[in-house]
């Protein structure tokens, strides 16, 4: 029966190609517009590390200004100070922990004819690699001793390894950064956490850094910092030592806590630490430490762009217009067939048969609209990439989930749109239309 209805639907669609095309186009445009914006929002709110996102916690300590406007609700700052980062690293109370910040260094190729160039770097700790499960092509991360002993080691991204070493196994080779030699211990494979959750204080949709070096080395040699630095009071005196001791925040701190009890223990540890610091005259505000897991932190930082959400809302309304359009057109189409329907009813077809038949026809139109809509979505995403440029490069890919969602949404929309017209159609009394023949 289903195949027969498919055939009937196909005949019906072909019998009035212009009207059918208009309906398919209306659904396709609505799907195209809404799926374009849904895809962007979906990627922005993606879980970048689903296997352990509930075990990774972003640490916030409230060392901020007691005199700031209380209307801001005393939110703790979104990074931590050097003093606190080092205290938490040295305490080592979590299963794994990482303090890191962004930087930019100059890489001098061995070949003197090649010009030196800037690379994005991250100053970090040994735990970074196992904690965030970075894939390695060659070698691996460094160990705790490298952090302690200020070893000048480096992990390269796959791209930079291709650029500098032509993609070969460069472990053991040397890279010259800001006039210092670093020994390669590992080369990452393709790694693109989206969003770049471990540091959302810079562009959260950027690619990971190209080079990773030990945090302690960067501090020891006072290598430049690139990320955001926020201070609420001046440091006591000039110089880097004073800056390190200041209340300026510039470091992101992550802790890996494998279960609820570890999390609670860690929170107790943080609170005890801050209470202790309070006795030294720091942390003037009331105790307000936070531990957010990855998705909570993404939510808290509102990394889904406001514009993206506004556009998604408007495009969903757009889909509503397209559906209202389709309802009207389907109604027109089905009403034209009242003669056929009366005949079929008179010949014994049940209402439910006719209902199924017409819903299948609507579904077919939806399928057509969905397939075309996926095409339009790809076009729309291309358009967004052209408009916004490199900033959205990583946001405009469509995965299978999104393709299936698009087609599913299209069919669902068409079925919804078909509901009322079909209902109207099957109500036709068998005799009413036969009379005029």
């Amino acid at each position: 029966m289903f195949r027969y209805y498919l055939k009937l639907g196909w005949l019906s669609i072909r019998s009035n190609p212009l009207l059918s095309l208009l309906m398919v186009a209306a659904i396709a445009v609505g799907i195209g517009a809404s799926m374009t914006t849904i895809t962007v929002n979906y990627t922005m709110s993606n879980n970048p590390i689903p296997q352990k996102s509930d075990q990774l916690f972003y640490v916030q300590l409230d060392n901020w200004d007691p005199n700031s406007d209380p209307e801001d609700g005393f939110e703790p700052p979104d990074q931590v100070t050097y003093t606190d980062a080092m205290a938490l690293m040295n305490a080592g109370k979590a299963f794994r922990q990482v303090a890191s910040n962004r930087s930019g260094l100059v890489l001098e190729p061995e070949n003197p004819d090649e010009r030196p160039f800037m690379v994005d770097t991250r100053n970090t700790w040994a735990d970074f690699f196992p904690m965030f499960e970075t894939p390695f092509l060659y070698g691996g991360g460094w160990d705790d001793n490298a952090d302690k002993n200020l070893e000048q080691v480096v992990v390269l991204s796959r791209e930079i390894n291709e650029q500098v070493f032509g993609g070969e196994d460069s472990v053991g080779k040397s890279v010259r950064l800001n006039g210092m030699d670093f020994r390669v211990v590992g080369v990452l494979d393709e790694w693109l956490p989206m969003p770049k959750f471990y540091d959302v204080t810079n562009n959260p949709f950027d690619v990971p850094e190209e080079i990773f070096i030990p945090f302690n080395v960067a501090v020891e040699y006072e290598l430049p910092r690139n990320g955001n630095t926020n201070c609420w009071k001046p440091s006591d005196g000039d110089g880097f030592e004073a800056f390190k001791a200041s209340e300026c925040v510039w470091i992101q701190f992550w802790a890996e806590l494998r279960n609820e009890s570890e999390k609670q223990e860690y929170m107790q540890f943080l609170n005890a630490y801050v209470e202790e610091q309070k006795t030294l005259g720091r942390f003037p505000r009331p105790l307000n430490n936070r531990l957010d897991d990855v998705m909570e932190w993404m939510e808290h930082e509102e990394i889904v762009e406001e514009d993206a959400r506004v556009m998604m809302g408007l495009s969903l309304l757009f889909l509503v217009v397209c559906l209202l359009n389709t309802i009207g057109l389907l109604l027109a189409k089905f009403m034209r067939k009242t003669g056929d329907i009366s005949v079929r009813r008179a010949l014994g077809a049940r209402k439910s048969d006719l209902f199924t038949q017409h819903m299948i026809e609507a579904g077919m139109i939806g399928l057509g609209g969905g397939v075309l809509g996926v095409g339009l979505t790809l076009l729309g995403l291309k358009g967004i990439e052209v408009l916004f440029g490199e900033f959205v490069e990583n946001l405009v890919g469509m995965d299978w989930v999104m393709v299936m969602t698009a087609i599913g949404l299209a069919i669902l929309s068409a079925l919804l749109a078909g509901l009322y017209p079909t209902w109207q159609t099957v109500r036709i009394m068998p005799a009413s239309q036969l009379k005029t023949q």
Binding site: L19, L22, A26, V29, G30, A33, N67, S68, D69, G104, L105, V106, E108, R115, P116, F117, M118, N178, G179, M180, P224, K233, P234, G237, D238, G239, F240, A242, F243, E306, D307, R309, V310, M311, G313, L314, S315, L317, F318, V320, V321, C322, L324, N325, I327, G328, L329, L331, A332, M335, R336, G383, I384, L387, F388, G389, F391, Y420, Q424, T436
Partner: protein, 395 residues
């Protein structure tokens, strides 16, 4: 019309939602356009900048900056040049708070900081509306981790107004405090200069600080004579790259490019929303054409009968036009309410500017009614062409 209520309701609803989307899209477009039209206060068409990053451990930054500036300023076609930490619209910069009374408990007024020398006014083409420029002896050197501040500054008028709301002129000569209690004297006020962040509510609150920075990476901002910019850019880049091999010269950019990048999100939103509105109107008018055609073909016999009974072609066309007018009127009235509701929701959920709906809503209502009439024109004409003889057939 009442016989086919559903068709009419569908069109009215479609027009209503269309209106709601249209009004809010245009409202957002207007908001973005206004933001983009704000002037930076500097001579954008003739300014470009380039950054220089040192990497050798024994690099003498102070000497390099002196030599670079002297060399750039002496190039023919260059009006003037400075070294600074940032430029308007760049996106990254330095901010501080200034207060009129000393004390840690006082909340300062946020201000964007540009470290410059006495050539800044000329390089940016800023208009000094009160006081005087820095002199050469005011300008000092700042290490990355220095925390103390020089005792003289030039503010923008917007900053002076924010600190001295009664009379911005009283800012001139006044002592303001930075870092809670370090006194700074305001020696001059410039008309306008934007901060590096276009989304900041205090975008025109800027202070100039007479210091060269020794931060390892720096920017040279260069103003050329009109028409000389594109020619000078490669020359400056080459000159800098060749004069000192221990640094990287990169990110050369014109202010025009900076503006484009800075407002890229906004201009893209404008394009997307414009496209959406056009597409929407197209879909809606196609829907009206479709349903009107359907209604005409269903009523062919009725039209024939009316024609046979003496109705003129014009009367038939008018009937369909009037029918559409009634439906549109209902649609746009519902739509106006929906538009205002949606606007309130947007303002509530996001920091969207409420916009001037008083003009926008009636204008959009009018446009939609006209579009509705245009869309129904074709089907109405076809209806008018139905010959009276149809009435005699099949019945």
């Amino acid at each position: 019309m009442m016989r086919n209520k559903t068709g009419a309701i569908l069109i009215a609803l479609q027009m209503a939602v269309t209106l709601a989307i249209m009004v809010n899209a245009i409202s957002i477009i207007q908001e973005r356009k206004t933001a983009m039209e704000r002037p930076t206060g500097i001579d954008e068409p003739n300014i470009f900048f380039v950054s220089s990053n040192s990497f050798a451990p024994d690099f003498n930054e102070e000497v390099t900056i002196r030599e670079d500036l002297a060399a750039i300023r002496s190039m023919p076609g260059v009006v003037n040049a400075i070294q600074s930490n940032s430029v308007p619209l760049l996106g990254g910069g330095w901010s501080m708070g200034l207060q009129t009374e000393p004390g840690a408990e006082i909340e300062g007024t946020g201000v964007a900081v540009y470290f410059v020398d006495e050539h800044a006014l000329d390089t940016y083409d800023l208009e000094l509306v009160a006081g005087e420029n820095f002199s050469e002896s005011d300008v000092g050197w700042r290490e990355r981790s220095d925390t103390s501040w020089p005792d003289r500054t030039i503010l923008t008028k917007a900053m002076a107004e924010a600190m001295f709301p009664d009379d911005w002129r009283s800012a001139l000569g006044a002592t303001v405090y930075i870092n809670d209690d370090e006194p700074v004297t305001v020696i001059g006020i410039v008309d306008r200069m934007q901060a590096a962040w276009n989304g900041w509510s205090g975008v025109e609150r800027t202070m100039l600080v007479p210091q060269h920075t020794l931060f390892g990476s720096t920017r040279y901002i260069i103003r050329t004579e009109p028409g000389m910019r594109d020619q000078l850019m490669p020359q400056v880049e080459e000159m800098l790259a060749n004069s000192n091999k221990d640094r990287i010269v990169r990110n050369m950019q014109t202010m025009d490019e900076t503006r484009e990048r800075s407002y890229r999100g906004d201009s893209s939103m404008i394009k997307m929303l414009t496209f959406t509105v056009i597409l929407l109107l197209l879909i809606t008018s196609l829907g009206i054409v479709g349903l009107a055609s359907f209604s005409v073909s269903r009523r062919t016999k009725q039209i024939g009968t009316r024609r046979a009974l003496g109705a003129s072609k014009g009367a038939i066309a008018q009937y369909f036009m009037l029918e559409n007018l009634l439906i549109s009127a209902a649609g746009v009235v519902i739509g106006a309410a929906m538009a205002i509701g949606l606007n309130m929701a947007l303002v509530e959920a996001f920091d969207v500017d409420p916009g001037s709906l008083i003009i926008l809503v009636p204008a959009a209502m009018l446009v939609l009614v006209v579009i509705g009439q245009l869309a129904v024109l074709g089907p109405a004409r076809r209806a008018a062409k139905v010959p009276p003889a149809v009435a005699t057939r099949t019945i």
